[in-house]
Chain length 220, copies 2
DNA sequence: ACCCCTTAGATTGTCGACAAAATTGCTTAA
DNA sequence: TTAAGCAATTTTGTCGACAATCTAAGGGGT
């Protein structure tokens, strides 16, 4: 189903993935303190595994750690959302431009058929699309940029924080159909190898998405 | 002297900073394997401290780790340089634009006087400028963007890899004066709060810088 | 009543031991 | 001679113990 899957080879990996999931989906609440010994019993692993996981989570801005004091899950704020989407717009815009240049014809074909799959699902029920579907679409374009630094910054970096905002602050409803059209136009631009248009459409797409979330944040 | 200094409060911090320095400056050679027990005796710390350092180095793309196999220092390649500067141009361009918008008048004044200091040093001897001076200039603009994600991606992320390329593949000579002029124009644009010009000049500045390094890479 | 200092408890930082996995080198069979 | 399999060694992964630091609670002085 999901196009991009991370491989968990070691216990530390598995723990990190589960831990991250729990934070992104809110099972561990934003702002809460992370006690290492507590977590080590909860996940049934040694404390060093927990420490490594916390370090990794810090790298992707999901927790904040202070020396000798401890780590807390990040808080979700309107200002944080703004900063996040500001860089996301720039980076994913760049990814779209590079994808228009660097994706193979085969990859573009696959992307088109992915979109057709999504179209069926948008018509029937909206649930899938907003979750894995949307992520899948963006992932493919990010990977299509073929720039390893860009890919790492987005996928290991900010993407899970983006998901955290979306999952916990709600993001669904009537925008589904609109967003799908935007995806279609982006892929069209990529098919035409129109780098500048692809970037522009992607930036606009993300900007719309931000506005959509912001309006849902009544407390502004 | 240097504007942005990281505070080392713990042994793991100190070890990480020294370790990173050794890699960036080539004391530990690109491509070499990192043996944890060896390093733990070399730096006179426990192995867990070394492991944490390696994890951190992996986050900023200075080493590559494979599970159950080990970590190696990254290799410096023309292709890697190209990818790196591609994202650097985009991110620092963005930083310049945001700095033009968000820096306080006081910060801009300070930036101007920093430039005057550099001017004296450029006239007398070139050494300082290309090292700390240039970094200092870029750091201030990055911090001036006031976007924490952007700051973290650049300073904790790619900046040390940029330095590694510059230090190890050589980067000095007649470009010093040119680069200084470019810095001056960028600050001018920021003073005028001309966001688009600031971004454009910064991107061009970095692009020139890349060309300068690439021509020094005879093996192309 | 308030503040500072001391002390006890809890939490993080660092270390080396043991377990699991990979690498190396030797032996043996085709 | 080569290749495959096994054994020994090295290296990484995981764990819990001990040390250093922070936090909280209580007592004494003003």
């Amino acid at each position: 189903m999901a196009y991009f899957t991370e491989r968990a080879v070691t216990v530390a990996d598995k723990t990190f993935f589960q831990f991250r999931k729990d934070i992104v989906e809110g099972a561990i609440k934003p702002g809460s303190k992370l006690n290492e010994t507590e977590l080590s019993t909860k996940y049934a692993v040694g404390r060093s595994v927990i420490r490594e996981a916390i370090n990794r989570l810090e790298s992707c801005h999901l927790v904040e750690r202070k020396a000798n004091i401890g780590a807390r899950v990040v808080a979700l704020t309107p200002e944080g959302l703004r900063e996040l989407y500001q860089v996301r717009e720039s980076l994913e815009g760049m990814a779209a431009r590079l994808a228009a240049k660097n994706m193979t014809d085969q990859e573009i074909t696959d992307l088109n058929s992915l979109l057709n799959t999504h179209f069926q699902e948008v018509k029937t029920g909206d649930s899938y699309y907003q979750e894995a579907g949307d992520l899948d679409f963006h992932y493919r374009i990010i990977l299509g940029s073929k720039n390893s630094h860009l890919i790492s910054m987005l996928i290991n970096g900010i993407y899970h924080l983006v998901r955290m905002y979306r999952v916990q602050l709600g993001m669904a409803g009537p925008r589904v159909a609109t967003a799908f059209d935007e995806h279609k136009h982006i892929v069209q631009a990529i098919s035409n190898r129109d780098e500048e248009l692809a970037e522009m459409l992607m930036r606009r797409h993300i900007s719309y998405s931000k506005n959509n979330i912001e309006t849902k944040l009544a407390g502004y």
